[in-house]
Symmetry: C2
Subunit: 191 residues, 2 copies
């Protein structure tokens, strides 16, 4: 998606340790017209897949999922990061590891909101090592729902999570894939 | 907003301790057409106020803020709940207390994203005792920006936060104000 790549080139900041800061337009301050274009692009990619639900995880996936969902006309469900081990019985529980924050999180989704009749599209802002999507995929499996695929806005291709998921047969669509980046060097996108 | 009140009547669940569960349509599973109508209603209420930025706090405010922002054509900024006391110097820091989770949180906003030139509209899903809005108002003040007002989807009128803010001269618009609710009883809305 050229508009997105240009935004990353113009406003993204590469930091040491494989960090790409895009918080001026994607995940702290939000360029709402960019979000609309992102939503339309995910719709273009998955419009023939009879998606019935969009599943994401709090926090920065929520806005993108909502903007996307309005083009599909389907509900969003966002998994919550569980603050307690005392999770109600009525939830599916997934597990994710944040390499950024170096912490484990259980994520929970109420069983009523993902069902065996659902065709689920996963949406998130970043795809790095794939842990967030793996946690969500686990929840889709527990629910007996059909996984249509996963859409990420920015994939850090060099961290391997997207290709690992693809090698498992999962359809992963990323709107920009960064194959390499170093401080002070141009960002290299996958074609 | 009649559509919202009807949703609350049909699908809201009143629990002990002043808890109103609306997670089937508002803050876990999201009815995206309702979110669109909520966004249009906030736009109708504040369209003449030259809003330049919408400020909310993660997590459940983000989707509503994004859907609203697209009608204004302005960016969203969402305050992040700080996980560390080691907050970067470049942030405004506000303080909120969650009565639901009984915990204190610092919330942070990068100084670049709210400026003295901004006319800020606050948006959140719930207004109970007002702590989240107070934390956001503090950040608006630190930034020297102009506070246009605050929009909440559901106000628990009986918890007093909205009226406290109004008594301080702040314009608060809630799309549904619950004045009383008890398990097994009809919900009473303010007219």
């Amino acid at each position: 998606m050229e508009l997105l790549k240009q935004k990353i080139i113009d406003h993204g900041i590469v930091k040491a340790g494989g960090v790409l800061r895009v918080d001026s337009f994607l995940n702290h301050q939000i360029d709402i017209s960019l979000y609309q274009e992102i939503g339309k692009e995910f719709y273009r990619l998955f419009e023939s897949d009879n998606v019935t639900k969009i599943l994401t995880v709090e926090a920065s996936g929520i806005g993108i999922a909502c903007m996307t969902a309005q083009y599909f006309g389907v509900p969003v469900v966002f998994a919550k990061k569980s603050k307690t081990s005392n999770v109600a019985e009525n939830n599916y529980v997934g597990h994710i590891y944040s390499f950024t924050h170096q912490c484990h999180n259980d994520i929970i989704v109420n069983r009523e909101y993902v069902t065996p009749q659902d065709r689920v599209l996963l949406i998130d802002d970043f795809l790095a090592k794939g842990s967030a999507f793996e946690g969500l995929i686990d929840i889709v499996k527990q629910a007996g729902a059909y996984l249509v695929g996963a859409g990420s806005v920015i994939e850090k291709g060099f961290q391997g999570g997207g290709d690992k998921l693809r090698s498992c047969g999962i359809r992963v669509e990323s709107l920009a894939i960064v194959d390499s980046m170093e401080e002070g060097q141009p960002i290299v996108f996958r074609n």
